[in-house]
């Protein structure tokens, strides 16, 4: 089957670098066989992980081109407490509203794919009659698109089904293209597209155990490392059975972490690990913080991500130095918050803080500092807690329900001008003191940054004491905290454990495995590419414990919503 020039070009862009030209182990197969009988789906489903918004958007852009507009609202995936959205995706169902939105988006996308401007790029054949069905041509169009969307070849049944659907609609609408549009819409709302479906097969190396099959491996590599659908090379490798071969798996993953597209994957990982969804809700009191506005709010997560990818990828830096680096990026919107000059009227430019700025890596950025503050005041407790939970993976208990917060909330009390004094007063209550001991001494070192991360030397005219302490080590200011974090064994453990969780879709349960991973991470000089490569290639991450199959044959639908709606109010 000949693909159109555009599709081929789009896919060529995504193709793996030449380094990944591994030897085929099975019969040559690929796009040309997509319409041929697919292997029987013997694979047992071991996980269904809902596509995130970014994965959906990246998939559509990679498969159909970036000029295909995706517009609509995505049902958010709920983050489980102390876990990643990647784990939430494994548990996320799709609500009626969510499905309605996916349905609307699907129709908008399908209409663009088969409009006059684009149809030639995706339809390698012309129907006998543009006004009616043509099953042969429909199959030639739909089979390759289905393979990219479902991340595996369509089964014969599936292919026949979509061709039939296109044919029926073409007849009714008097248009072959309208038929294709409808069939594509159907694929885009199918659970086979909206969920990453992970399947397992018997593991020859461990009789009685299961391992993820080739198709699943292709998709997991693509989603984990590039945050998008598998490209032609990966689908081909999967079809040829090469991704269950350890050496070839390693070659494929190595090429992927060296690719520029790994940046997209790494951004998605850190956005998940660092709870970036909280930026959507970030709001500040404009009277207390006149410098905070929408432009600032939008720039904050980007500044953090640029710092991360610059340090970890461009500079190939040590992960631990993310908490000490003085390098970052500025834009006009952020200049006033930091009170620094910005040369370019538009876009980002590199910036390096001086030693007196006391801004140490991620924790010295306005993004972190404002996210973990209240709308009208800073919060050593929130900052300390975020450092414990987000950066060190140490969950802190929630406060009890009946606490009196008056002392900490009254920021205008001249008798208690600084947060340190207010918190000390609050912590005379032994019920509170236990937890505050864990968080506050950490967060108080950042008190020279106000609730939006702007510098201040005093609060209510009282000088700020930025002394801090973590796990028995005393230090001064943001720089001291950054150094403590960079020297803590928990920060690399945390990111390694998150990487594992991100790949598998659930928090790691095997301590020894995490220990081994951290050991290798240390061995690489805490290089992020090495960490992800290791996670992607450890045989343990590809093994699965067999779930209990649910063989119920009778399926009962829940009561229709319209009926429930009547009793709903």
């Amino acid at each position: 089957m000949k693909r159109s020039a555009k599709l081929a070009a789009a896919l060529a862009l995504l193709a793996l670098p030449a380094a990944m030209a591994f030897a085929p182990v099975g019969p040559a197969a690929g796009a040309d066989t997509a319409a041929a009988p697919a292997p029987a789906q013997a694979g047992q489903i071991v996980a269904m992980r809902r596509l995130t918004e970014a994965q959906y958007r990246n998939s559509i852009a990679d498969i159909f081109g970036p000029d295909i507009r995706v517009s609509g609202r995505f049902e958010p995936i709920v983050r489980p407490v102390h876990e990643m959205i990647a784990s939430g995706a494994r548990r996320a169902s799709i609500s009626p509203t969510g499905l309605e939105n996916f349905d609307a988006m699907a129709r908008v996308i399908a209409a663009q794919v088969f409009d006059a401007q684009h149809r030639a790029l995706f339809a390698p054949c012309a129907p006998a009659d543009a006004k009616t069905a043509d099953d042969r041509c429909a199959a030639q169009v739909l089979a390759p698109l289905g393979r990219y969307l479902f991340r595996r070849p369509l089964t014969l049944d599936e292919q026949a089904f979509y061709v039939r659907m296109a044919g029926a609609a073409a007849g009714k609408a008097g248009s072959f293209d309208k038929g294709l549009e409808l069939a594509l819409s159907a694929m885009l709302v199918s659970p086979n597209f909206l969920y990453v479906i992970e399947r397992a097969e018997p593991d020859p190396a461990n009789p009685g155990q299961l391992r993820l099959d080739n198709g699943t491996r292709a998709t997991r590599l693509a989603m984990m490392l590039w945050n998008s659908a598998p490209n032609e090379a990966l689908l081909k490798a999967a079809a040829e059975g090469r991704l269950t071969d350890q050496k070839q798996l390693e070659a494929a993953a190595a090429a992927m972490v060296s690719s520029p597209r790994f940046e997209q994957g790494l951004r998605a990982f850190f956005a998940d690990m660092l709870l970036f969804e909280k930026f959507d809700e970030l709001a500040k009191d404009p009277v207390v913080y006149p410098y905070f506005n929408q432009d600032v709010a939008q720039a904050l997560p980007e500044q953090t991500l640029r710092t991360i990818t610059d340090h970890l990828l461009t500079r190939n830096g040590d992960y631990r130095q993310l908490f000490t680096t003085s390098h970052t990026f500025m834009t006009r919107a952020l200049g006033p918050v930091y009170q620094v000059p910005v040369h370019r009227a538009k876009g980002w430019e590199p910036y390096e803080f001086g030693p007196r700025d006391d801004r140490a890596g991620l924790i010295g950025q306005a993004g972190f500092l404002s996210l973990y503050s209240h709308s009208g005041r800073s919060s050593p407790t929130l900052r300390g807690r975020a450092i414990r939970e987000v950066l060190m993976c140490q969950p802190v208990p929630n406060p009890p329900g009946n606490v009196n917060f008056t002392a900490v909330q009254d920021v205008h009390n001249k008798a208690m001008p600084t947060a340190r004094i207010r918190l000390t007063a609050h912590n005379t209550d032994p019920v509170c003191a236990g937890c505050h001991k864990i968080t506050d001494p950490v967060g108080l070192s950042l008190e020279r940054f106000d609730g939006i991360g702007a510098w201040r030397a005093s609060e209510n005219d009282a000088p700020i004491d930025a002394g801090g302490m973590m796990d028995g080590v005393k230090f001064e200011g943001g720089a001291g905290l950054g150094k403590a974090l960079s020297e803590s064994p928990d920060t690399p453990i945390c990111v390694a454990s998150r990487a594992l969780e991100y790949a598998v879709g659930k928090p790691p349960e095997d301590e020894a495995l995490v220990e081994r991973l951290v050991g290798d991470f240390a061995g690489s000089g805490y290089a992020i590419r090495a960490l992800f490569l290791k996670v992607a290639t450890m045989p343990e991450t590809w093994r699965v414990t067999a779930p209990v199959l649910d063989n119920a044959t009778h399926v009962s639908f829940a009561a229709p919503a319209t009926m429930a709606g009547r009793t709903g109010r």
Binding site: S71, E75, H82, S95, T97, P286, P508, G565
Partner: protein, 448 residues
Amino acid sequence: MAYDLSRRTALRGMLNGAGVVVGVPLLNAFLDGNGEALAATGAAVPVRFGTWFWGLGVNPNRWFPTKPGKDFDLPPELEPIRPFKDKINVFGNFNVPLDGAPNLPHTSGGVAVRTGIALTADRGLPGQSFDVTIGDQIGTRSRFRSLDVSAIGDARNSLSGRGGGNLNPSEGSAVALYQRIFGTGFQDPNSASFTPDPVTMARRSVLSGVAEQRQALQAAVGAEDRQKLDQYYTSVRQLENQLDVQLTRPEPLQACAVPHGAPAELTASGEIETVMKNHKLMTDLLVMALACDQTRVFNMMFNNGASTLTRIGSTITHHQLTHEEVLDNRLGYQPNATYFLTRIMEAWTSFVAALDAVKEGSRTLLDNTVVFAHSETEFAKFHTIDNMPMMTAGSGGGRIATGHYVDGIGTPVTRVGLTLQQALGVPVDRWGSKSMETSKPIAEIVAG
């Protein structure tokens, strides 16, 4: 409390995964709303959208409430809306950043509100106005895609169109409006034949297709994924039901009462009393056009941007007054120009009242409609466009929560347009251009 933060604890802390399917409520505001509408009439009641425009803004310190939220105050010039306060939202502190484009007096502001784009040339619309976008979503099945009227009687008095410099002309005569709706071509909707919408039928078949794939997946999943799959298919079933309702012949429109003959012709004039009368006649016709499902979208322009409204015995226009009448800094407003604003707010309230007077099942026509009211300037004397005065009335069949004063804290005006488009089913996640681009709907007014 002892709390050991050794490395071991940290690891254990990480290893606390407990497999629970995260429950997603099956019922959401959208279905809830329709559910109630269904309970009332037995079939889906159409949702309507319209705009109500007035020119020359307000006196900011006498119009905008000071207290955000449900319990907002009514300053003197907002006082007329009191009877419908619970069905109205007021928006303040939403800005119109032009990114260096000129602030074309009486034009840039209104165009930005409707298109999310800063004008760079003097005429027409630079992009599609969002009332048209909503019309493409909800208005395709009625006789008129939209009815656009101007109470001041000016055909060019319009902010609606598909862009490229064109504007949908407004109907300025109540008699002509009557002829257009109820003259030749009018078919009593309660006796008209019913043809199901082919687009809805196609969507329905997509969903059937999805449902057919269930078996294949079902056979291979474990218990945890099975729950997810069940919820997914429950959602499919609900969406199918929703479409089925749309494919069923609707119940008779009880509120539809065809007017007996055309209203008497009014001599077109900018004189405020005449415009009020014309507005009343046009409102009554528009209300019946909605009740008889002749249109689901409308644009009512009360006056024009550079308002040519006058008072009896004076030829000095509203627009002239805003510029000529000096701002008394002690008083804080212009009394003569303000007279017109007061009348405009009365007209707006009467429009809302007319919609609310029509019963549709247990609700009113207003409840099944969202009317978006706005001006083109904040304070006309200086042509300021930040802090654009805007309101909505009606809940659009339960899609919009009402009775709020929303403080936009300087965010772009396009958030209102985005919220309304999303509420009325337009698949759009971001809207507006350059600094006016937004992906943040106004959560306070999204029902749910």
